[in-house]
Amino acid sequence: MMKHLSVMAIASALFMTACSTQNVSRDNNIPEAGSSVATSTMNSQQGGAGSTSGLNNGVGGGVSNTGAGYYNPHGAGAGAGAGAGAGAGAGAGAANANAAITLENLKNPRSPLSKRIIYFEYNKASIKPEYQQVLNAHAKLLKQYPNIQIRLEGHADERGTREYNVALSEQRAKTVEWHLKSQGIAGSQMEIVGYGEEKPIRVNSNEESWAENRRVEIRYPR
């Protein structure tokens, strides 16, 4: 899970070369110039510029990268994604409600298990009734495989402020957790995290994109 993280010390540049802020003096009584020239060499790491190649505006493909060890909830065949409309995913699975609840069926677009994203209304954390069936299927699966631990990752759209959205997205993940718990799933089988608006699927600022970004992803280990 630990990702590459590099911590670069900003060399003394910020500090060493700095003089006092009291540097600005009224000229009524200027001491003779010349003494305050700093002679130490600047040891600056220009970390900012120069590393901008390959810039890309936001997340394009809807793959978020915590997924290294998890099934991508967006990618289980054609029917898996929610398309544009929040909630579009759920109803389609009705005919297959009785499909076997097995790990293999996570990849079967005809199984409700292939639906692993729950969508929410703006500034709401309540689960819409159409997701009941999907959540039931996941609860059954988790009961059959008590050793599997899933992650419930909550997300928000870009409206509103970032830390508020972290809280809102965690509440969404918690509502999903609560629904699964109410069907007998142990809390120890679920890890929840709220990402706020930091990992959008769509970067456009319109209702359609916002609807797709307000979500909880149910992530199974690969």
């Binding site: 630990m2 910020l14 590393s51 390959g54 990268n65 830390e163």
Partner: protein, 429 residues
């Protein structure tokens, strides 16, 4: 009250009368349509660096919303630095003051001298000399601070720093960088790079340390990092949310939003011993704490009334009932306080914009004009607000709005998607 009257009288008097004495600190009238003080700059004398200093000073002063610059007509002759001036010379431009400057070479470096001429009488109001600094732009920022103070009576905040997060790439290749830069966005340097989100930057006292939230472990945790040495430590990696760090003025405590007890609540973390004090008790979202200037209270975002609004609570344990502060707008969040000024994000008419409240009378007005503005961070002098807005093609950019709402400037950045800005305190190094 008496003071207010005097101030009003001063502003009503003709400029000539009030500004004859060079010792009087000028006070700009902030009311009215465009109360910006009209300045004109003569080309700074010296080599290329003199002109660069001039540009930086002009851009700084302009960003504050307190000054407008009129172009110097080519037909007007201005005597060199220190020379006498006929006050009639610049009458046609309407400029009230003239700024002249020159660089004085000192070895490889230079000192910068600037003088302010009152165009009502052609006399020198005052002058400043700023000593050489290896980060040359700081010479200009320090000079702009002095000029700002001369005219407004308030310390300038141009020679300060900002922190922000730049994100780039998509999917598995997405990366996040914690950047520190000058207050005008120049000289960006990378402090941290991660493949998982970094957010909520917050400068500690004296701009030596930055607190921030990183998801690098797959879960949010709050870190404190020394800007000079790069050394860092985890200060909160509890179960659930570890977010919204806000430093107390003395740097000994961090206000945080934690959901370790189930629901996002406001806590005070004592950095020396790790002691946690819980301030809020509600079933709502409580987050985005900010300390009041006296250090006695915390203002935070809560949706306990249905929609997010700002509330104030004592920073001591057993704090009592929070008091609601915002009543205008459907959604008010993310407070940032400096002195008696509080910046926040307000939703009104479907737009999220920066609003600035005067805490003495709770009057507030919107000072930005984006539709998805966020992460406001107020300057250490309370005169400007740094925030995140949308630039061309909806890319996230940083902007500064002047406290009077007259000026909005996009900050320079080599990155295309930047956010989570934080404005440093005044520098003492």
């Amino acid at each position: 009250m008496k003071k207010l009257l005097q101030l009003t009288l001063l502003l009503l008097l003709p400029l000539v009368a009030s500004f004859t004495h060079a010792d009087i600190d000028l006070v700009i009238d902030k009311s009215g349509e465009d109360a910006r003080l009209k300045l004109v700059m003569a080309p700074f004398e010296g080599d290329q660096r003199a002109r660069q200093m001039q540009t930086v000073i002009r851009d700084d002063l302009k960003r504050s919303g307190q000054f407008s610059f009129v172009a110097l007509p080519k037909t007007i002759y201005i005597s060199p630095f220190g020379g006498s001036l006929n006050p009639q010379t610049l009458k046609p431009t309407g400029a009230e003051f003239l700024l002249r400057g020159k660089t004085v070479p000192i070895g490889q470096g230079f000192n910068l001298e600037v003088e302010i001429i009152d165009m009502n009488n052609g006399r020198k109001l005052t002058g400043f000399r700023t000593n050489y600094h290896q980060k040359q732009r700081r010479i200009a920022h320090q000079t702009a601070d002095a000029i700002y103070k001369q005219f407004t009576g308030v310390r300038g905040a141009f020679d300060t720093r900002i922190a922000y997060v730049a994100s780039q790439g998509a999917g598995e290749n997405r990366s996040f960088k914690l950047i520190v830069a000058d207050a005008d966005g120049h000289d960006p340097q990378t402090l941290v790079t991660s493949h998982e989100p970094i957010m909520s930057t917050a400068w500690g006292p004296q701009a030596r340390r930055i607190a921030y939230v990183s998801f690098e472990s797959g879960r949010p945790a709050v870190f404190i990092q020394d800007v000079m040495t790069g050394e860092r430590r985890t200060v909160s990696a509890r179960r659930g949310i570890n977010g919204s760090p806000a430093w107390s003025k003395n740097g000994r405590q961090l206000a945080l939003s934690l959901s370790v007890e189930g629901n996002p609540e406001i806590y005070i973390l004592n950095l020396a011993d790790g002691n946690l004090t819980r301030l809020t008790h509600s079933r709502a979202i409580d987050t985005e704490p900010s300390w009041t200037a006296d250090g006695r209270s915390i203002v935070f975002t809560s949706d306990r009334g249905g929609n997010p609004q700002l509330y104030k609570i004592s920073a001591n344990a057993n704090a009592g009932k929070p008091q609601r502060l915002t009543f205008e707008g459907k959604y008010n969040s993310a407070p940032s306080i400096q002195g008696q000024k509080m910046a926040m994000i307000r939703q009104q008419g479907g737009k999220f914009q920066v609003a600035l409240m005067d805490l003495t009378n709770r009057a507030s007005e919107v000072i930005s004009r984006g539709s998805l503005d966020e992460s406001p961070s107020i300057a250490p002098n309370g005169g400007m607000v740094l925030y995140e807005t949308r630039g061309i093609a909806r890319k996230h950019v940083l902007a500064v709005a002047s406290g009077n709402g007259l000026e909005k400037s996009v900050l320079h950045s080599p990155y295309q998607n930047v956010g989570h800005p934080s404005w440093s305190p005044f520098l003492y190094h």
